[in-house]
């Protein structure tokens, strides 16, 4: 049984179809990449799965359980953790206290929460920042704190929303390593939305591509990247090879 099933999910805002009949599955212990040009509806889909807002139509099944109608905090408690693109620096809580909030999801004991938090901080290699305030940390570290917080809630599935945004290449490498460890050592499945394609290619077992709210490709990374539809979505008609022709460019590309 797949861990997550998204069945014909559509999300409409006023006149805009942000998600249009999207269906896919995510198997247990899989890393699924979600890519697509800007405005394709990736974050919307994320928010639907996380329960941040209700879907207009369709079903979402997590671990055999229909979570379509559940609110975000209920979805979180069932084992789906998420990160946010815009991370607001906490004025009030220190790093370790932040992570403890994650731990408090399933634990009511402060001492236990603290242990879990410290352990997660260590796993992410940022134990030395425990006592600091988030605003004092560089971006890459702040992202790790967010990851630690998500980990502390012992999720089965982690939704990562453009986690590489704002990171330089070496930081991205570090992030890829960390995510891989989270996946392999903790057995957590990942749904990764990214603009930074190297990250997706390095991590994902499978990739889904969205364009204008619709799913246009679903397969392993190498295949998807060569898919004409995907190329067309990202780069436009000129570069999409006709069926049977080799790669982008070529004679077709010279036509205006």
């Amino acid at each position: 049984m797949p861990l997550l099933e998204v069945q014909h999910v559509s999300k409409v805002f006023g006149g805009l179809r942000a998600n249009d009949d999207v269906s896919f599955v995510l198997e247990a212990n899989e890393v699924l990449g979600l890519i697509g040009p800007n405005g394709a509806g990736k974050t919307t889909l994320f928010n639907c799965i996380a329960g941040y807002f209700p879907v207009t139509s369709g079903r979402i099944i997590f671990d055999g359980r229909d979570i379509t109608e559940l609110r975000d905090y209920q979805v979180a408690r069932l084992g789906i953790a998420r990160t946010f693109q815009i991370f607001q620096a906490s004025g009030d809580l220190s790093v370790v206290e932040n992570v403890m909030v994650g731990a408090f999801m399933h634990s009511s004991s402060r001492s236990r929460a603290r242990l879990i938090a410290e352990e997660c901080l260590e796993f992410l290699g940022i134990s030395d920042s425990a006592g600091h305030m988030l605003s004092e940390l560089p971006v890459a570290r702040q992202k790790r704190v967010a990851l630690a917080t998500a980990l502390a809630s012992h999720p089965r599935l982690l939704l990562l929303d453009e986690v590489a945004a704002g990171l330089n290449p070496s930081e991205i490498e570090g992030m890829v390593d960390t995510l891989r460890r989270i996946h392999q050592e903790r057995g957590i499945s990942l749904l990764v939305t990214e603009h930074v394609l190297e990250m997706v290619m390095a991590l994902a077992d499978r990739v889904i591509v969205l364009e204008s709210g619709r799913k246009i490709a679903d397969g392993n990374p190498e295949q998807v990247v060569k898919d004409p539809e995907v190329i067309r979505a990202y780069l436009g008609e000129h570069f999409a090879p006709q069926a049977g022709q080799a790669g982008p460019g070529g004679e077709e590309g010279r036509h205006a």
Binding site: Y73, F84, F104, R110
Partner: protein, 339 residues
């Protein structure tokens, strides 16, 4: 239970703070033995009461960040429950006070459930509105004496620990001091608790809080109930200490404002903040009030000063006196790290 351990866990405060707090407690304990005027004693009792009011307010206004300007109605519920139960059915303070707290908490759920759909300014205005409504109701309700209020009958023999009637103020002083100490311990346990952490996450960013499994609406309601309980408890005490209550002095907007102002001035969202705020404003109000009371033309000057102080604090350091302390410490820490 871990909560009990948490209550006594002050380990995250630097030793300086704990020393000062210790000295403070010592002073409070021996105060009645020191030479003092009855005015000073009355001021001290007020200080302890307002510290408790402030500590209660702090759970919802400070830790959760929802500014509540209508706490006074629960003071009234506590006070009136004690008064009515004593007048009609001779029920002692130690039974009527918990009952008052229970009523107040029940009402806080009823009012809180819709109230917390609102945020920020809108929430604050709604709290004022509900307070005004409750006060209006009490002013026309004969069962509680309407605008004239109620007078608690004298039991005759002093000291009376059952009904909390004493001739000498120091009895009242030690009882409220006892509540004060319990209050501090409770808030300490509260801020170390799961709810305490969750409220701070809520105050920071509600979306992130919900993504961490926190039921924001319900958490706020819980914090509101705690604040209500504190405030009702002191209200009951007030009824016995004053021997008479009326809507104007137990449920007025001015009282709600004072409570919120003190906690905010001292530092909303911190353990010591409300106490500091009360320590500054209560004596100031008392002594300024009595000095000015002599000069008839200067009524209101004390509040003019408070208003100005609040504006200053809001513009410069919204986290109050305690915020200033923390900012200074952070800067010192920062310069150490740089060195």
């Amino acid at each position: 239970m871990e909560a009990i351990r948490n209550a006594f866990d002050f380990s995250d405060f630097p030793r300086l703070d704990l020393t000062i707090a210790g000295l403070g407690i010592l002073f409070l304990l021996i105060f009645p033995a020191l030479p003092h005027s009855s005015f000073a004693m009355a001021t001290m009792i007020q200080f302890l009461m307002f510290s408790l009011y402030g500590m209660g307010w702090n759970t919802i206004g400070g830790y959760a960040g929802q500014v509540d300007l209508g706490k006074a109605k629960y003071v009234g519920i506590g006070a009136y429950t004690t008064a009515v139960l004593m007048i009609r059915w001779d029920i002692p303070f130690w039974f009527s006070m918990p009952l008052g707290m229970v009523f107040a908490i029940l009402w806080s759920f009823v009012i809180g459930y819709p109230l917390f759909r609102l945020k920020g300014h809108y929430f604050a205005i709604a709290t004022i509105a509900t307070s005004l409504v409750v006060k209006d109701i009490f002013e026309v309700w004969d069962f509680v004496g309407g605008a004239r209020g109620l007078e608690l009958p004298l039991k005759g023999h002093f000291p009376d620990f059952l009904y909390l009637q004493f001739r000498e103020d120091y009895y009242y002083y030690y009882i409220i001091l006892g509540f004060f100490v319990l209050g501090v311990l409770y808030i300490n346990a509260f801020r170390h608790s799961r709810l305490g952490y969750q409220l701070r996450a809520i105050k920071d960013n509600e979306d992130v809080a919900r993504s961490l499994g926190i039921d924001v609406h319900w958490s706020k309601i819980k914090a509101y109930a705690v604040a209500t309980a504190f405030v009702a408890m002191v209200g009951s005490f007030h009824a016995c200490y004053n021997f008479a209550i009326e809507p104007e002095d137990t449920m007025s907007l001015d009282l709600s404002i004072l409570i919120a102002m003190m906690a905010m001035l001292g530092g909303a969202g911190s353990l010591w903040g409300p106490i500091i705020g009360a320590a500054i404003l209560v004596p100031m109000k008392s002594y300024l009030g009595s000095w000015l009371g002599g000069q008839a033309g200067l009524a209101g000057l004390d509040l003019v000063i408070y208003g100005a102080i609040i504006m200053l604090i809001a513009a410069v350091q919204p986290r109050g006196v305690w915020g200033i302390v923390e900012a200074v410490r952070a800067r010192k820490r920062g310069s150490h790290a740089a060195a």
